[in-house]
Amino acid sequence: MALAIMLFSFSSCSDFLDRDPDTILSEDEVFGDAIMIKSVLSNFYGRITWGQHIDDTYLYTILDEASKSDGGPDNRQEFENDRWRVYDYTLLRNLNQFLKGVRASTVLDDKTRDQLEGEARFIRAWLYFNMVRGMGGMPIVGDEVFDYTPGMDITTMQYPRSTEADLYEYIISECEAIKNILPTEPSVNAARATKWAALMLKARAAVYAGSIANYNNKMSAPIQTPGGEVGIPANLAKGFYETALLAAEEVINSGQYELQLSKPDDRGRNFYEALSVKENNKEVIWARDYKYPGQTNGFTQANIPPSHAEDIDRAYAGPILNLVEDFEYIDDRDGQIRIKDAAGNYVYYNNPEDAFANKDPRLWGSIIYPGADFKGSPVVLQAGQKYWENNEWKTLTSDPGRRDANDILITSVNGPNMTNDQFINKSGFFFRKFLDETPSASTRGRRSEMWFPRFRFAEAVLIAAEASLELGESGKALNYINMVRGRAGIQNLESITFDDIVRERRTEFAFEDHRYWDLKRWRLAHTVWNGIQDDPKAQQWGLFPYLINQPGNENHAKWVFEKVKIHMSPYPRYFQMRNYYNFIDQGWINNNPKLVKNPYQ
């Protein structure tokens, strides 16, 4: 019976299986058409968003920048062995196929061919960079396109891992090789690679390599493998820092970009626009661009404050107090929010936003704090009311948006609160950086065209500052860091230390996929995310604003704040030695036994 069915289902009387596929294009067809070539390139640009990015809000809750605000708790404590690991030799092969095709194509003029070659090699260098910062040295395959024919010796296709230093060197040399065939004019919305993007990648790769060579060897037990796949010798640090400084200064002196200062009278707004508004942008060098229809992201939809929401989604995550307090005051480097006086009594504010007066204007440009404006109206964050009873302040909270008998708000629709409900804030803050102000950008139907900058001018300046400091040129370093602080609108430094670089990068580049990699390359991650409960840094903290409702009391209608442990994220972050390098997957080793494992594996 079964046999009969099988025979029947395999018999056919047409040549159905012998037709040429009509959905697969041959290489000749692709590389014989300039428009087709361009669409292959744009496919590559769509496949290279790794690490932390705005199309996935939860990626911001992993570190010490934001916490989850919706649904169930975030039980994270440790970091995965494959956290943000990139291993995409499929893309690498596609890029090399593309290079081969473009070089042989007859339908392109020389200038276009050069540009396409430059962009493909830039994307390839970016791919290698994303691999090396997670795993250390990986096989470098050059321009080779591997083709397997049955019976061939596959060991010729198995390349061993390069050393970590060699892979960084390779990225640097590729960027140097392509910088003069890439355009010097900024591309539309910074979406395509230019000479300056290549130089930025070169500078970033070099400063990463330099700091690993420097700080890894200062650990009591440097992380390394005998073959150098992980770990860079200390004597290479100087050369890498020099390369980083030269590349960064080439960008700084290009005249194409600047530390955008279009609204000197409103520095917070100015900082927001430098990052989050594409029109007339002078700051961003290379970005993942989004465009409606088809290419949009859900960051605004997910994170818009409930009071401003246009659709169902809202308040998936909120920035945390750890980050807010790392922003300095304009004239005070200790950024702590003053919520209690020396005797332990509340500090009373007339308006909630007064608690953030005189903060670094970049705080306004990065984070919506209680009472700050969004799209022209204030974002009310109110956890509840405080009233005086039995000689102490008692707390009254309610459902979101409820008012008391005198029509005074108890708990705001925005939150924050201590429930597990979704669509309400749990930390006391909302994102502003990358939150789109365009109407209907937070709807499911449209979503947002907000871009995600990967390289921008301020990074060139801070790389130059860091590299010159490490090279002992602290005068130069001071000058560079004060450029960034001056644009932000905070006091200049009189002298500069390594710690100043760490702090400046934390606040300038919040939510821009720098924090994790920075702390890793400086070998600070295991000291900051130390896994100790209630640690001021490793634990996630929030700030809850309360309205005083006690008519007759001198503080009636004023505001107080309480620092709370984020209940959605009960455990401290714990970064362990093994997290400095991702694990090499056993499946890859099975396919290529020449790959050696990473330390702690």
């Binding site: 440790e78 100790i532 409960q533 714990y574 056993q586 494992k597 702690y600 594996q601």
Partner: protein, 224 residues
């Protein structure tokens, strides 16, 4: 349609019944057990989160993926395997001991017990841990085994379950800048809400070496 339905049921039943016997064999029932020791004494380790692992390799197969063996907090481990010859090593740079990774060849027939002898940087001995009101008092001796090792910190840890380590705890206090010696340390938990609410309390002392990925721990003492 109805005809097809019966047909499909018949097919499904047929498929289920027509399994082949060749690739089915019994589950492994040989047991490899053992402990991680120094001079015969088992070491106190972190037992949660798969933190300390040993690796079992078996030669003669094409792929060389290891079998991870998870070490419990009292230094014991156990694996259920097929009979055969295995190679047991510690995991690279894992554990509060010198990373030597000598291979132990194990011939497993039925039940086999093995001791994995390591050289810890420090050991803890003669520990007495007690609770006085809300204050935990611990006195113990830290013995330096490896001369070049530097102590990073000593932790006093209290947990409400019998799992006590640098991740599972309700109260913790770290002491830095101490020298290996006879030590008496204490931790006040009167402000700790978890401490007051806990029905059971267990405590332990841990010593972390600079550059090691794990701490070495004392035995666990039940306080409440």
């Amino acid at each position: 349609m109805k005809r097809y339905k019966y047909f499909l049921i018949l097919m499904a039943v047929g498929t289920i019944l027509a399994a082949c016997g060749l690739d089915n064999y019994d589950a492994p029932d040989s047991i490899l057990s053992g402990k991680v020791t120094y001079k015969g004494e088992p070491l106190g380790l972190r037992g949660t989160g798969e933190a300390v692992q040993l690796q079992l390799y078996q030669d003669g197969y094409e792929l060389r993926d290891n079998i991870p063996v998870y070490v419990k907090q009292d230094g014991n481990f156990q694996a259920r395997l097929f009979d055969g010859e295995y190679k047991l090593v510690t995991r690279n740079q894992n554990g509060p001991w010198v990373n030597e990774r000598d291979t132990i060849v194990i011939n497993l027939r039925g039940t086999t017990s093995v001791e994995v002898e390591v050289t810890p940087y420090f050991t803890i001995s003669n520990e007495t841990i007690s609770l006085n009101g809300a204050v935990m008092n611990a006195s113990f001796e830290v013995n330096q085994i490896v001369n070049t090792a530097e102590m990073d910190y000593i932790s006093l840890l209290v947990s409400k379950t019998s799992f006590v380590d640098d991740v599972s705890y309700i109260a913790r206090k770290d002491f830095r800048d101490l020298q290996p010696d006879k030590l008496s340390l204490s931790m006040d938990m009167s402000e700790n809400g978890d401490f007051a609410a806990a029905k059971y309390l267990y405590a332990r002392v841990g010593v972390r070496t600079k550059g090691a990925d794990q701490a070495v721990y004392s035995k666990i003492v039940q306080l409440r």
